[in-house]
Amino acid sequence: MMKNKATAVLGWATLIMMLTAIYMVFEWVPTEEDQGIVQRIFYFHVPCAWVAFAAFGLVAIAGVFYLWLKEQLFDDLGYAAAEIGMVFCTLVLITGSLWAKPIWGVWWTWDSRLTTTFILWLLYGGYLMLRAMADDTPEVARFGAVIGIVAALDVPVVILSVRLWRTIHPAVLVTRAGEHGLEDPRMVITLLVAIAAFTALFAWLLMLRLSQLRTRSRLLIIRRDAALIEAAAQEYAGNY
């Protein structure tokens, strides 16, 4: 699997960046005054959301290109990105819940941002169920591309939800007053390093998953060839 040198280099770079981000989160960044130590969930919660949104955006872009060019590569890219996006969207919901409990006093509330994120999770859950249960046909790929594009329309709704509706969820990077809400520059730097580490992780996982989908395509071709040759061999055996 790690035969590809670029994948190996990116894997090691991701590990180094991730360790740097962990050091900064637990050692370097100052503790936020109001929320205390639990606010440090923020430094990995936001990058998880960033990767989920980027992945679902990529599903939509790949879907558009698949419908346009009918290239298998775009279908594979969309499928891989949707799966990775789902993993990180799940992490956003779990870490958000673990942050909400000590700060809001509840594990979950039907707040606009939480609700729209949960809808996003359900939409891509449906997309992945379709891909897992249906055969690998161009019709399924086309249908998947359409679902992937439509579901991605929820991403801007999630991002803008804190401005469009009343919410208790904080606007992370820019507040309504136009301030970023992170009072210490070390908080901003730590967040940016964590976002960079998670972006590298996303790229690495995408390369691994794409390589796997190529292997699966190869396997399907070999299976089809074997079935044809086996049928031919049986025909020979029957005739002679």
Binding site: I37, F44, L98, T215, I222, A226, A232, A233, Y236, A237
Partner: protein
């Protein structure tokens, strides 16, 4: 260190889920590669059997 357990749980879950996903990808890849090798072996055998059937039929004629 108030609420440390929530912080610990959040980071533990992030690392466990990511690690489990990587292991899941690797294991699925390894399984497919084993199947590809087995299928390629089977293909070689089948390709060898078909000409031998052809040869047999030629010999019978």
């Amino acid at each position: 260190m108030e609420h440390f357990n929530y912080l610990f749980a959040a980071y533990s879950i992030i690392f466990i889920v990511i690690f489990a996903y990587i292991v899941f990808i690797w294991r699925r890849q390894a399984r497919m590669e084993i199947e590809i090798r087995a299928m390629e072996e089977r293909l070689k055998q089948l390709k060898a059997e078909v000409p031998s059937a052809e040869a047999k039929s030629a010999a019978q004629k």
